[in-house]
Amino acid sequence: MNSQTQLRTLGAVLTIFLAGSVAAAEDVSLAKDLTSAISLLGLPCGQVVNVVTQGNRDYIATCSDKNRYRIYLNPQGRVAAEKR
């Protein structure tokens, strides 16, 4: 009984830990993705340091040089960036 509780606790901790790391990896990859997209659009940014999701494929990206952009897919299927 005691060992079962310990196993469950360990499982819960591992799940939380792995879920957190996966979420962090997604954030990092999204930030890198937005960094590359902003760079391709020729806008100054440096690196994206923070991302706030506004909707489906609609983000507010904060850059290391303090620029902020709204990055989204417009109805024409193009990546658009608006300076905020």
């Binding site: 997209a37 391709l40 897919l73």
Partner: protein, 247 residues
């Protein structure tokens, strides 16, 4: 009292040992009139090549101490000083080896140069000046293994770009947007050449390839190299109206 004697003796022995250690190299080097060869720097040796400058050290009794100053390359160098002499020739031969890889790189920069300079400067001087800075920028981006890779077909490259995990969705879409824009400009050029000259298209094409390379070089260097190696093949397709029409 005996203890202090012992300590004193030990101290004396230690000091004596230090003294012998410190003097051994000096006397060993100069015993029996050994010759010390000092190498001069090339500029210092210019005025006296082949002429030995000798000086005697009066402080060393029992033998003449000769210090010869010789030019850097002499035939006497191998006799006395082994390691410095053998170390110098490789150092001198090394710099000529370095330019060899540089000749491998100009294709990277050659394409932007031709597009940038063809319009204004047909002279041969321009490439020599412009080549240097981009070479350093492109050097780490080109993997050695991919240098011999054959150019890939456009469709294969397109599929690999779609499939790669090195870039995210937004980057892929942004790239696709820019590729489509460039293809539209090529189409316009082939329909009416006056609107978009080929030199401008080449500049845009090179810039786009640089962007692709920048985006891919860290995450998927092999694909970046494949695209890099295929740039001329892709260009021939894009620039040729017949081949372009088949896309």
């Amino acid at each position: 009292m005996p203890v202090t004697h012992t300590i004193g003796l030990l101290f004396l022995l230690q000091v004596a040992g230090c003294v012998t250690i410190s003097t051994t190299p000096a006397t060993g080097a100069l015993q029996g009139g050994t010759v010390v060869v000092e190498h001069l720097s090339p500029d210092a040796a210019q005025g006296r090549a082949g002429v030995a400058e000798r000086s005697q050290n009066p402080a060393m009794p029992g033998g003449t101490v000769i210090v010869e100053r010789l030019p850097p390359l002499p035939e006497t160098a191998p006799v006395v000083v082994e390691t410095p002499v053998t170390a110098e020739p490789p150092a001198k031969t090394a710099p000529p080896v370095i330019p060899a890889p540089a000749t491998d790189i100009p294709p990277v920069t050659a394409t932007p140069i031709t597009s940038a300079t063809v319009a204004n400067k047909p002279a041969a001087k321009a490439p020599a000046k412009v080549i240097a800075p981009p070479v350093s920028a492109q050097l780490p981006q080109k993997p050695q293994a991919a240098a011999h890779a054959p150019p890939l077909a456009l469709t294969v490259l397109e599929q690999q770009l779609k499939d790669t995990d090195a870039i995210g969705l937004f980057t892929k879409i942004a790239l696709k947007n820019q590729i489509d824009d460039l293809l539209k400009r090529f189409k316009t050029h082939h329909e009416d050449g006056r609107k978009a000259p080929l030199t401008q298209l080449r500049q845009s094409y090179d810039q786009l390839l640089l962007k692709v390379n920048d985006v891919l070089k860290n995450g998927d260097p092999s694909l970046a190299a494949a695209i890099f190696n295929s740039r001329e093949a892709i260009w021939t397709v894009l620039a040729d109206p017949v081949k372009f029409a088949k896309l």
